[in-house]
């Protein structure tokens, strides 16, 4: 009588501690969640250097939440890749945009995407928005051991549409330890974010319109201008590559789902409003 071949245990399934990451860990497919120590042999006290070389921004506008990210991937002062996609779709109504170490960030997004599907399939219901936000927070927390060892810091933004209790777009940003903060109007992360936060604060307070009143065209134009501004001083942010015609990734989350803006549309707005 050996039913264990199928790999499920005889305990009740669906308990909160038996989520997809723990299933992966049980099968040895995901690094264990241990809080690592600082390297003991280092002479001087190492200070943790945040290396989130990118710019991600998100804000609520009349049509939902806009999430935009530049496309540069760097290692130190080297540009590794100019077509990186850091704005990732997690499910039909959720986007995770990442700043930080790509290997960890993409893996985290992959785990999150699969976790939500696994939950829906096994539990026969969608995970609530709070549950999704918390799931990402837990992944960040589990990763903190690596962060303390100086590798694998990820500081994401999570944008989603809550179709349930009170239908509205929701926007969250995180710190590297997994604390989640709900943004009322906008959020930005990455090395270029100080400039972007300045712009979004200014626009939202003294601009012609509050951010949440902007039309799609105005929102896209603001996002492009903000990324261009970030790229002006931050070498790790590509902004818009005018010669290579590489544009940022812009996605919009609304009640209907996620729309990815086609490059020609972004190019048109860019030409008219930014360049």
């Amino acid at each position: 009588m050996d039913r264990s071949q199928l790999g499920f245990d005889q305990n009740f399934s669906g308990a909160a501690d038996d989520d997809f990451p723990s299933l992966l860990r049980r099968k040895g497919l995901l690094a264990p969640a241990v809080i690592g120590s600082m390297p003991q042999n280092s002479r001087q006290q190492q200070t943790w250097q945040p290396t989130e070389a990118t710019t991600i921004l998100a804000f609520k506008f009349s049509g939902g939440v806009l999430v935009a990210g530049d496309r540069r991937a760097t290692a130190g002062n080297i540009v590794v890749y100019d077509r990186a996609d850091k704005v990732l779709e997690i499910d039909s109504h959720s986007i995770m945009a990442i700043a930080g170490v790509p290997a960890t960030a993409w893996e985290m997004a992959r785990v999150l995407e699969h976790s939500l599907q696994y939950f829906r399939r096994t539990q026969l219901q969608e995970m609530s928005v709070d549950g999704k936000v918390r799931a990402l927070s837990k992944l960040l927390r589990d990763n903190f051991g690596f962060v303390m060892q100086g590798v694998g810091v990820v500081v994401p933004i999570f944008a989603t549409y809550d179709g349930n209790s009170k239908p509205e777009a929701r926007l969250y940003f995180y710190d590297a330890m997994g604390a989640q903060f709900e943004a009322t109007d906008y959020a930005a992360t990455g090395s270029g974010s100080p400039a972007v936060r300045g712009i979004l604060y200014y626009e939202n307070t003294w601009g012609l319109k509050r951010l949440h009143k902007l039309s799609e065209q105005e929102a896209v134009s603001l996002a492009l201008r903000a990324l261009d501004t970030a790229a002006e001083s931050d070498t790790a942010t590509a902004g818009v590559d005018r010669s290579g015609k590489i544009y940022p990734v812009i996605k919009i989350v609304s009640r209907e789902g996620i729309t990815t803006l086609p490059e020609n549309k972004i190019a048109a707005v860019f030409k008219e409003m930014v360049a």
Binding site: R3, Q5, L6, F8, L24, L29, R120, R121, T122, L124
Partner: protein, 259 residues
């Protein structure tokens, strides 16, 4: 008892009879490949019988809810970990059923001191074209029936599941003559409901060897539709979205049912 081969065979036969008896009242399920995907249809109002397994795989099952649940969880776990470590394209229904589920169900069935899985399941995997659709029916003893061609019959673009063998056979006979893989969604829904009605009539009538008359089918279907809810789901063939499973609300279907 195990030491005596005759006793073992007898015990297995008893067990088979017991399980068949338990499964006999199970409401039929029809799965039809049509132009835009695969449609699962059943009627019932007690508990859910159709489930999403993975991006392109769905299942329907009758039997004991506890056993269905354990096998369903195992199937989802296996598919999800495979899809995560490799890719969604590497998740295959053939491998899932042949290498993982069937051997476990067989040994549970034959180890007569332990409990067998009291369930009969129907899996489907949607392909790029109707010819690539795969249907697998898995019995409580690990036996697998596929929709592929055999010596005795051509490939089928559908599969059914029911409580008794006669019920299954007549549902298949009906769909063999009525169903075409290039059917539209509306036509497929109506064929599936007719097939369900035939299967359900056979469960009540017992030993019938021939298809019921058309108007008897229509009447039975009408009666049942007025008292129970339709449970249906599709696996879309459209590859623009990774997740193809969509469950259909009863209301969505009522409007396209022909009288």
């Amino acid at each position: 008892m195990i030491e005596e081969p005759y006793r073992w065979v007898e015990a297995i036969a008893n067990r088979r009879e017991y399980i068949e008896g338990q499964l006999a009242p199970g409401s039929p399920i029809a799965a039809l490949g049509y132009r835009e995907g695969i449609l699962f249809v059943t009627l019932g109002q007690t508990r859910q019988k159709l489930f999403e397994v993975y991006d392109r795989i769905a299942m329907g099952a009758i039997g004991h809810p506890g056993d269905i649940e354990r096998l369903r969880m195992a199937a989802i776990e296996l598919a999800s970990t495979e899809g995560f470590t490799r890719s969604a394209a590497d998740v295959s229904l053939r491998r899932l059923v042949h290498y993982s589920l069937s051997p476990v169900m067989k040994s549970a069935f034959e180890q007569i001191y332990g409990p067998p899985y009291l369930t009969r399941m129907l899996f489907a995997e949607v392909g790029a074209r109707p010819e690539d659709d795969l249907f697998l029916r898995v019995e409580y003893d690990g036996e697998i029936a596929s929709n592929g061609a055999t010596y005795a019959r051509a490939r089928q673009d559908f599969a059914v599941l029911s409580g008794t063998r006669q019920s299954v056979e007549l549902m298949e006979a009906f769909l063999k003559s009525e169903h075409k893989p290039d059917a539209s969604f509306e036509v497929a829904v109506n064929s599936a409901l007719d097939a369900w009605s035939i299967g359900h009539m056979l469960l009540q009538a017992g030993e019938a060897k021939e298809l019921p008359a058309r108007d008897a089918i229509a009447q039975h279907r009408q009666e049942q539709l007025s008292i129970v809810a339709i449970e249906a789901a599709v696996l879309e063939r459209d590859s623009s979205r990774p997740i193809r499973y969509r469950s259909l609300a009863d209301k969505e279907l009522r409007s396209i049912i022909s009288r």
